[in-house]
């Protein structure tokens, strides 16, 4: 390997280290970084204590109006018996209040045979349902065109 190539390799590793193991953990431990629905390409940095205080009312509102708590053992036993996993909710700041967003593309890490593997995402489990509904939708639209009421 040429000297130049080795130097470049070392530089690349250094940059990777600074970003991955230094800069990101440093920012993470001090700020909650999020996008918002107000600004298109702007990141917002919130101090953790401030973020907690801001999200508390929205979260407790969610927990009473839209959600109901499940006992932990019931939830885990239910989840272990079915293909659909759980999702995590995060809050996006809006001009007034917060908008909850669930990421259903996320693949949960699960323990299988003592090894950590990636499970299927909720959206990929739901793919057959999506395909079936799309099929029925197209069929309905076609029958509407053929036999207009």
């Amino acid at each position: 390997m040429s000297d130049h190539k080795k130097r470049r390799e070392i530089l690349a590793e250094l940059i990777y280290y600074i970003l991955d193991s230094f800069l990101i953990p440093l920012i993470r431990s001090n700020f909650h970084v999020t996008e918002s629905s107000q600004h298109r390409n702007r990141l917002l940095y919130f101090r953790h204590d401030l973020w907690r205080r801001l999200t508390e009312p929205a979260l407790s509102n969610l927990k009473t109006s839209m959600l109901e708590e499940m006992p932990h053992n019931l939830a885990t036993s239910k989840l272990s018996r079915r293909a659909l996993g759980f999702s995590q909710i995060r809050l996006l700041p809006k001009a007034k209040g917060m908008r909850p967003i669930a990421n259903l593309k996320r693949r949960a890490q699960i323990l299988r045979n003592g090894r950590v593997t990636l499970g299927r995402s909720i959206n990929s489990v739901l793919a057959p349902v999506f395909n079936v509904l799309k099929y029925e939708k197209v069929r309905m639209a076609q029958s509407c065109l053929e036999h207009p009421s």
Binding site: S37, R40, M66, R82, V132, M140
Partner: protein
């Protein structure tokens, strides 16, 4: 949206209504996904599934990139691959070829090779409905260390959310808004954002009244302050926000001309985020 507007304008022209006043009504449903009744949507979907078995076939569409041939030849092109899956009620091998040939013109592909995976996945109707009911009725969410069940509305952010919402509101439109199918009105909807353009003022008022009254069966409740019309009208004693002096009508990041229905992009709202 453009195609529907163009068609509507042509209909008006042939009816000789091109110069008559157009009434615009925009309404926005409050928290649409969160308020769709779980039982109602599950009933609707159960009534829509017409087959006992569905066959889901995966295929890949391979084609040259769009820029192919546009540049000089020493650029190396990578073929584009798209992984698709489609449901069908027919398990035979010929079904796939037939389905591709029967596609409507706008979803036909050119210069494309289709490669299918021969053996389809088979799902029973009951499996599909069960999965759906788990997803809607028992959506589990984790906040912190605790688990919660979503007791109201349909899950957001799922591949199904907007499709489910569209089907459900489609049912509402068929049941309560069918008076708008008179050829002189155009009803557009992007998920939870309704826009009515009509030559009939009575229809416009009736639509506003229905939407503002809401419909608990369909979980529809309007944000009155977000409504917008281009004529003076009062609903339930409140004045509806009015767009005066004939300015272009904003809808989903687009500005619609009130006279000739020309459309252009609305830059003012896209800069401020423009939730539609």
């Amino acid at each position: 949206m453009f195609a529907r507007l163009q068609k509507f304008r042509n209909t008006l022209l042939t009816l000789g209504l091109a110069s008559s006043k157009l009434y615009f009504v925009k309404v926005d449903v409050q928290g649409a996904f969160d308020n769709i009744p779980q039982a109602g949507i599950q009933q609707l979907i159960a009534s829509l599934l017409s087959e006992d078995h569905y066959y889901i076939k995966k295929h890949t569409e391979v084609k040259p990139p769009d820029t192919y041939g546009a540049h000089n030849t020493d650029v190396v092109f990578k073929p584009m691959r798209k992984f698709c899956s489609e449901a069908s009620a027919d398990s035979s091998a010929a079904a796939f070829t037939k389905a591709i040939a029967a596609r409507p013109p706008q979803s036909r592909r050119h210069n494309t090779i289709f490669v299918d995976n021969v053996v389809p996945e088979t799902h029973r109707r009951s499996f599909i409905l069960e999965l759906l009911s788990e997803h809607i009725g028992a959506n589990v969410v984790r906040i912190g260390k605790k688990f919660y069940r979503q007791k109201k509305g349909i899950p957001q952010g799922s591949v199904l959310s907007s499709l489910l919402c569209n089907l459900f509101y489609g049912g509402f439109e068929a049941e309560h808004l069918n008076f708008l199918q008179d050829g002189r009105s155009l009803l557009l909807r992007l998920i939870d954002d309704f826009l009515l353009v009509t030559t009939n003022k009575k229809h416009a008022s009736r639509f506003l009244q229905i939407m503002h009254d809401g419909n608990p069966q369909y979980g529809i409740c309007i944000k009155p302050e977000k409504s917008l019309v281009n004529f003076g009208v009062k609903i339930n004693g409140h004045i509806v926000p009015e767009l005066t002096n004939g300015k272009a009508f904003p809808y989903c990041g687009i500005l619609l001309d009130q006279k000739n229905l020309n459309l252009r992009k609305d830059y003012s709202s896209s800069r401020t985020g423009g939730e539609c």
